[in-house]
Symmetry: C2
Subunit: 82 residues, 2 copies
């Protein structure tokens, strides 16, 4: 069985208010080493009955059709044996 | 400069309705190879002025204090040079 680990992150040019809130919260409790926080999604998909090569193509399709909004977000993924 | 990549995922015993909705949506457009989808968070933190060893300790603290709810969530992280 295969698993796809998909990482969806906001593009660099897009503001991330959730990340900024977390950065400020951590700084306010004394963690001054924090320069920036960006929050994205980590999506684990279990796949069955397809090859690793097919999975590469399919997961790209999932990302483009449903998982990522490419206007605002970047995605990357890896296919691993499970 | 260092970066921490933090992955926060729901514990296996916790239902993930958002993941189930994504699974159903992908299956409904014909991707029948999908067995399960679990959605977590991917948090990128930029750190300055501390060593890699200090960063390991600090990032564990961030997770325990703020980034993860350990009753429902697991976390793991890696520290990388940026």
């Amino acid at each position: 069985m295969l698993a796809a680990n998909v990482y969806v992150t906001l593009r660099k040019s897009i503001l991330d208010p959730q990340g900024t809130a977390v950065k400020n919260a951590l700084q306010s409790i004394g963690y001054e080493e924090i320069q920036a926080v960006r929050i994205g999604k980590f999506i684990e998909i279990s796949l069955d009955g397809i090859s690793k090569e097919q999975a590469e193509t399919r997961v790209r399709e999932y990302c483009k059709k449903l998982l990522a909004n490419e206007i605002m977000e970047d995605f990357r993924f890896e296919i691993v044996e499970k």
